[in-house]
Point group: C2
Chain length 333, copies 2
């Protein structure tokens, strides 16, 4: 049987109130001696207050939920790392949930988290289905959205945003600055919001440089390695001098295709990626790429959520800017 606050009270010859007070640092009205005695007994008995009982009365658990598609995906692992750090630094624990992009699982987790009394959640919602934020989602605790972006016109959604338009702009601008004019783009699906945002950034850069955007130099990939190969193969045929792949995986595929065509990087073709996954710096040549501060974003999500929980002021959105990681896969022409 674990020792309770009553046991401690008895051993210290005081009431439970006294114990509770020193436990919660509300002991300004407790005499020095009493406090010392209590502290001593607590240590001796190795007493740990029962968080369940405590939470039952205080109505807070100091636990938050984290709903992401899949922790074994490096992207989300980094976000999770940041979120856990942020939460831990403020005295919160995080319950990990892998939704697998499955609506049903998401709902089940949401329900479990509610039952467990988590104080709030960080979520990368399955789809843009608004249901989550209305009827189906009867979770009345605060939440913060990460990874997906919602228009914040009338809705009231707290979120961590990443400026994908700027990311696309940065990559393209970098190539233009180095004299490239025939720039091929390997994008994600046309239905992918992220990809479309990045493409918007590309177009912006072209426009500023007065380069007319050539639709035929845009290849629709799917963020996978193979589509990087295919895309590069296609673009090489089009005579591009540089390729912007919208993630590093596709950039690696592009490397493969370029080498297969008997060409060199960056001498014959420059390549720029997006994500800065671990291997990108181990490639030969090391890949120049765009980085998203994932850990920082996770941390920010936790901090924003906890401020909401504590009813402290917080902006409704936190914006993060992409950063270019300059390595050796791009050359000036």
């Amino acid at each position: 049987m674990p020792v309770t606050i009553y046991d401690v009270a008895e051993l210290a010859h005081v009431s439970v109130t006294t114990i509770s007070k020193v436990l919660n640092h509300k002991d300004f009205d407790i005499s020095y001696e009493t406090r010392q005695r209590v502290l001593k007994i607590i240590k001796e008995t190795n007493f740990t207050p029962n968080g369940l009982a405590r939470s039952l009365v205080t109505k807070k658990t100091n636990v938050i939920g984290l709903l992401i598609p899949d922790i074994s995906n490096q992207y989300f692992a980094d976000i999770a790392r940041g979120a856990e750090d942020g939460a831990n630094s403020l005295g919160y624990n995080v319950i990990l949930c892998n939704t697998d992009e499955n609506h049903q699982k998401e709902l089940e987790y949401l329900n479990l988290l509610k039952e467990k009394g988590t104080d709030g959640i960080i979520i990368a919602p399955i789809s843009l289905s608004e249901k989550i934020f209305t009827s189906e989602f009867s979770y009345e605790k605060p939440f913060v959205v990460i990874d997906r972006v919602y228009e914040n016109k009338c809705k009231n959604i707290y979120q961590i945003c990443f400026d994908n338009v700027q990311g696309g702009y940065l990559a393209t601008q970098y190539l233009i600055d180095r004299g490239h004019r025939q720039i091929g783009i390997i994008a994600g699906s046309r239905k992918n919001r992220t990809s479309m945002d990045r493409l918007e950034g590309c177009k912006k850069a072209f426009e500023q440089a007065k380069i007319v955007f050539d639709e035929s130099l845009l290849y629709e990939g799917n963020y996978k390695y193979e589509s990087g190969c295919g895309g590069a193969e296609y673009l090489i045929g089009k005579g591009v001098t540089a390729i912007f792949a919208m993630n590093d995986l596709m950039a690696i595929g592009a490397y493969k295709a370029v080498f297969a065509a008997g060409l060199k990087i960056p001498e014959d073709i420059s390549v720029i990626g997006y994500d800065n996954v671990m291997i990108s710096e181990l490639l030969d040549p090391p890949l120049t790429t765009i980085m998203q501060p994932k850990i920082e974003m996770g941390k920010a999500a936790a901090k924003m959520l906890i401020r909401k929980i504590r009813k402290e002021y917080t902006d409704i959105e936190a914006f993060f800017e992409p950063q270019i990681i300059e390595r050796q896969s791009v050359r000036s022409v």
Copy 2:
């Protein structure tokens, strides 16, 4: 104010006992009509039982803790994924804790988890310091050790083990089978248990093939990319025909050194790695490597732990065998 079991009872014109019974499927003695009525009210009011109150009396939370060094490390992310899956399938949630190999943090988490009433924990302990399992570790709930291996002579430690000796054996044997005799090894630190185990496997393979083990063909690395470069450079000088790198990161380094020496893989030098990280199949040529079923191991850890929690029978150790992933970085000589 959330709706409680009392509200439901009142609305359904029955007692809380009745509600509780149908809630917990102990409703064999509840009339059909009553049950239907209760169920209806529960749905209408969207009532969710308060898990805290429930746990307070049942003395179980259906939550387990997962203590790992760092979730942003792919290795642990995979284990975490498996553990979460295993736990979820049995109705448990998992609290994620990053210890950063920091003893202090580990202790703090352990204490927090105790306070929160987690039913058990899965832990990759900091060091082999036995303290964790004795005095300092006053956590009386079940736990399962993962990633590190303890002798189970007198102690009573439940753990998920991976057969590193066999892994080293498999890799070496694979090279020997293909006619290699001058085999270079890029190991981890001499103090690293894992590395020493794998090396033991190598020696076993040599012995069986009646090849005398040449100490000068053993390079002490540190699991990092750079030490893979250095190691390969050294071994090439020694005239090896094959290199066994004890992780893929070092194998990638070896690729770099081999290419830098103007040699080809696998024509001039064969390379075999260990881990099967994502990129290993994207390398050119794709890397032959040894795989550890990380997700499966995480899952097994959760299942073992929960069996312990439920006081069901479980073996004290679960062994996992390495598997060779055959690709194109090794050739027969």
